[in-house]
C-alpha cells in the first residue's frame, strides 16, 4: 500500500524518502541509515524492521552521529544520516565541516522536517539557519527537493554516486510541482515556468507557492519566470544569471533565514556580475513567534499573495 496518498494540500516528502531509501537499500547492501533517536520522526521504523542492524541509532548524540556517519563511509558503506534539521546541522556543524566536507567522506546528511515544520515547537526546533550554515562549507552539496518526485530522484542519484551532501527532507505537505520525465541534474536549476518580466527563484516548500504567484501575475499581465532551485550547491550560476538578465527583477523565496541563504547567494552572484537588477530576498529575519507552519509562512510573507505583491512592487520601482 502506498502511504503517500494525496491530501488536500499535498504530500509529506518524508514518506517518499522512507519508501525510496528502502528500495535502494534492498538493491545495495552498502546503504545504511544512522539516526539520533529519531526513528519515528525520520520515518525509519520500517527500515529498522526490514534491515535490522543497518539502522544505527546512536541515541541523542548528534556530534557522534555525524562522526559515526563519516566512519561508516570511510569503511566503504553509504550512510544516510538522518536527524531533525536543526539538531543535525546546528549541534554537529563542526562534524559536518571537518568529518564530512573537509574530509570528503561521502555521507548523505538528511535534515528532516526543515524550515518551520515544527511550527509551535518554536525556533529551537526550526531549521532555518541550515542553508546558511551548510552553504558556507566547500565540498558539500545542498539539495532541497521541491516535491516527492524530486525527493526520490535525489536519493537515487546520491545512492548511485555518493558524495558529501546535505539534503532537506520536507515534512510540510507540498503538491507535485514536477512531472514524470523531468530529470533532476546535479548542480542544475530547472526553469519551472518561463517568463520575462520578473524571476522568482524558489526552493522547497516555496516552489509551489511561486508557481501559484506566477499564475496570478499572469492574470494581471505580468510574465513571471519561476526557477525551482532544488540543487543549491553547487549553484547553477548560468541559469540564475540568465534569469537576472532576462527579467527586470528577481525575487528569491525560501523557508530559511535570508542572512546567508539562497537569497544571499543569488544577490551576491547578480551583484558580482554588475547586472543592476533588483534582488528581493524573502525569508526569515528574526526568530519566529508561536504558530503553525502555515501561519508562520504567512507571517514571514512566504505566500503566493506576498510574492505577487513584492513582484509588482519591484517592477514598479
Amino acid at each position: 500500500m502506498r502511504t503517500d496518498a494525496p491530501t488536500a494540500t499535498g504530500y509529506d516528502n518524508r514518506t517518499a524518502f522512507a519508501e525510496e531509501l528502502a528500495v535502494l537499500a534492498r538493491a545495495d547492501e552498502r546503504i545504511v541509515a544512522v539516526c539520533n533517536d529519531s526513528v519515528g520522526s525520520s520515518n525509519l521504523g520500517a527500515f529498522r524492521e526490514e534491515f535490522g542492524d543497518r539502522l544505527i541509532n546512536v541515541g541523542i548524540a548528534e556530534q557522534n552521529m555525524v562522526g559515526v556517519g563519516a566512519g561508516l563511509a570511510a569503511a566503504g558503506l553509504i550512510p544516510f544520516v538522518c536527524g531533525a534539521g536543526p539538531f543535525l546541522t546546528g549541534r554537529a556543524t563542526e562534524q559536518v565541516k571537518a568529518d564530512v566536507a573537509y574530509s570528503q567522506h561521502p555521507v548523505i546528511l538528511c535534515g528532516m522536517s526543515p524550515g518551520m515544520a515544527y511550527g509551535e515547537l518554536g525556533p529551537t526546533h526550526h531549521s532555518v539557519e541550515d542553508l546558511s550554515w551548510m552553504r558556507a562549507l566547500p565540498g558539500l552539496d545542498i539539495v532541497v527537493p521541491a516535491d516527492r518526485r524530486q525527493t526520490r530522484q535525489a536519493l537515487r542519484m546520491l545512492a548511485a554516486e555518493p558524495r558529501p551532501t546535505y539534503i532537506r527532507i520536507g515534512r510540510h505537505k507540498v503538491p507535485d510541482v514536477t512531472t514524470e520525465g523531468e530529470v533532476l541534474v546535479r548542480g542544475r536549476i530547472d526553469v519551472a515556468r518561463g517568463g520575462d518580466d520578473v524571476a522568482i527563484v524558489a526552493t522547497g516548500t516555496l516552489v509551489s507557492r511561486a508557481l501559484e504567484a506566477a499564475r496570478r501575475l499572469s492574470d494581471d499581465g505580468v510574465s513571471a519566470r519561476v526557477l525551482n532551485a532544488a540543487w543549491i550547491a553547487p549553484l547553477d550560476q548560468a541559469t540564475i544569471l540568465d534569469a537576472a538578465r532576462g527579467t527586470r527583477a528577481v525575487i528569491v523565496a525560501e523557508e530559511a533565514n535570508i542572512a546567508g541563504g539562497l537569497g544571499a547567494a543569488v544577490a551576491q552572484l547578480v551583484a558580482r556580475e554588475g547586472l543592476g537588477v533588483r534582488v528581493v530576498p524573502l525569508g526569515l529575519t528574526e526568530f519566529a513567534p508561536t504558530g503553525s507552519n502555515d501561519m508562520l509562512l504567512e507571517h514571514f510573507g512566504l505566500t503566493s499573495e506576498n510574492i505577487v505583491r513584492v513582484a509588482n512592487e519591484a517592477l514598479r520601482a
Binding site: 545504511v32 542492524d53 543497518r54 544505527i56 546512536v58 541515541g59 548524540a61 556530534q63 557522534n64 555525524v66 562522526g67 559515526v68 556517519g69 563519516a70 566512519g71 561508516l72 563511509a73 570511510a74 569503511a75 566503504g76 558503506l77 550512510p79 563542526e94 562534524q95 571537518a98 568529518d99 573537509y102 574530509s103 570528503q104 567522506h105
Partner: protein, 308 residues
C-alpha cells in the same frame, strides 16, 4: 613558481615511495621474527629515529607541537611496526586495519611515521607547514595517503573510529580500528558520546588509546578540568581498560592485543610530554614552543643522532 591554475587545482595527493615501503617491510619482518626483548629494542630504536625526524621537521617548519609529538611517538611507532595490518603500497586496501590520530595537532609525529612506512617520500617532511605543502599543520586525508580522516578540532577522531569499527563489522571484515586521543582532548563531550556508542554496540574491534601525558596547552589536565579517575571512568562507560607505561614497547604491544571480553578496549597510556629530550620533558611550555638552533642540536644529541 606556482601558476594561478596550480593554485586553483590545489595540492594533489602525495604518492607512495615504494623503496621506503620495501625498507618498512624488512623492518616489520625483523620485528615479527624477533624475541620479545629484541622486538622491543627494534621498535624503541625506530621510535628514537622518529623523534629525531620530528625535531628536524619542526625545526625546518619553525612550528609544530613538539611536546605531544614526543609523548605519542612510541605509541605510533609500535602500531606501525608491530601491530597494524596495513600495506602502505595500497593505502586504501579494503581489509586494512584503520588508524586515526585524533590529536591531529601532533601531525609531525604522524607524518614522520607515515613517511618512514613509505606512504610518501621522507623528503616531503621538509615541507611541513610550508606554503602549499600537502603536509598541513593538521592531517588531511585528501592530500596525505595513510590519513583516514581529517583531524584538528578535538573530539572528532573517536566518533569516526566508532563508525569505521561498526562499518567493518557490518561488512564482515575482521579488521581493527585504533584511535589515539590526547588526554586533554577527553574533556570534549563528543568523546563520551562515542564511548557510549562503542560500548553499546560492543565494538570489540575498536581500541582507544589515550596519550595520558597529563598536560594540556596551558596547564596540567588535573588543574584544568580533572580527568581522573580516567581508567575507572572508561571502565564505567563499558570499556575493557588497560593502563600501561606508554613508552614501554612490550607493554604497548600487550595493550594493543584484541579485546578479550568483546567490549571496546581503552588503553590509558601514561606518557611524558616531550619524552626523550630532558629539557622538554613534562614542561607545559613545550606544548608548541619551537626549539632554538642550539636546542635542536642538544635534542638530537640526546636522541642519539650519529656524529653529534
Amino acid at each position: 613558481m606556482l601558476t594561478q591554475s596550480d593554485a586553483r587545482a590545489g595540492v594533489s595527493m602525495l604518492s607512495t615511495d615504494l623503496e621506503q615501503v620495501a625498507l618498512w617491510r624488512q623492518q616489520r619482518a625483523a620485528v615479527a621474527a624477533a624475541d620479545e626483548r629484541e622486538r622491543a629494542r627494534l621498535i624503541h630504536d625506530a621510535a628514537q629515529g622518529v623523534r629525531r625526524s620530528v625535531v628536524r621537521t619542526i625545526d625546518a617548519a619553525r612550528a609544530g607541537h613538539i611536546g605531544g609529538d614526543l609523548s605519542v611517538t612510541d605509541i605510533l611507532t609500535t602500531l606501525y611496526l608491530g601491530v597494524l595490518e596495513i600495506d602502505p603500497a595500497d593505502p586504501t586496501r579494503r581489509d586494512r586495519d584503520r588508524f586515526i590520530l585524533s590529536k591531529g595537532h601532533c601531525a609531525a609525529a604522524l607524518y614522520s611515521v607515515l613517511a618512514h612506512s613509505g606512504y610518501f617520500p621522507t623528503s616531503e617532511l621538509a615541507t611541513f607547514m610550508a606554503p602549499m605543502s600537502a603536509l598541513n599543520g593538521h592531517p588531511n586525508r585528501t592530500k596525505v595517503p595513510g590519513v583516514e580522516t581529517n583531524t584538528g578540532p578535538l573530539g572528532h577522531g573517536l566518533p569516526v573510529a566508532v563508525g569505521e569499527a561498526l562499518g567493518l563489522r557490518l561488512q564482515g571484515l575482521d579488521r581493527r580500528v585504533y584511535v589515539v586521543t590526547g588526554d586533554g582532548e577527553m574533556q570534549e563531550g563528543s568523546n563520551w558520546e562515542a564511548i557510549m556508542s562503542a560500548a553499546h554496540y560492543r565494538l570489540g574491534n575498536l581500541t582507544l588509546v589515550v596519550d595520558r601525558n597529563r598536560l594540556q596547552q596551558g596547564a596540567r589536565t588535573e588543574d584544568t578540568n580533572a580527568l581522573d579517575p580516567l581508567a575507572e571512568r572508561l571502565a564505567a562507560f563499558g570499556c575493557e581498560v588497560r593502563e600501561i607505561d606508554g613508552h614501554d614497547v612490550t607493554q604497548l604491544l600487550g595493550a594493543f592485543a584484541p579485546s578479550t571480553t568483546g567490549r571496546p578496549v581503552a588503553v590509558v597510556a601514561n606518557t611524558i610530554k616531550g619524552k626523550g629530550v630532558s629539557f622538554m620533558e613534562d614542561r607545559v611550555e613545550w606544548h608548541h614552543k619551537v626549539p632554538t638552533a642550539e636546542q635542536v642540536t642538544a635534542a638530537l644529541a640526546e636522541l642519539g643522532e650519529q656524529g653529534s
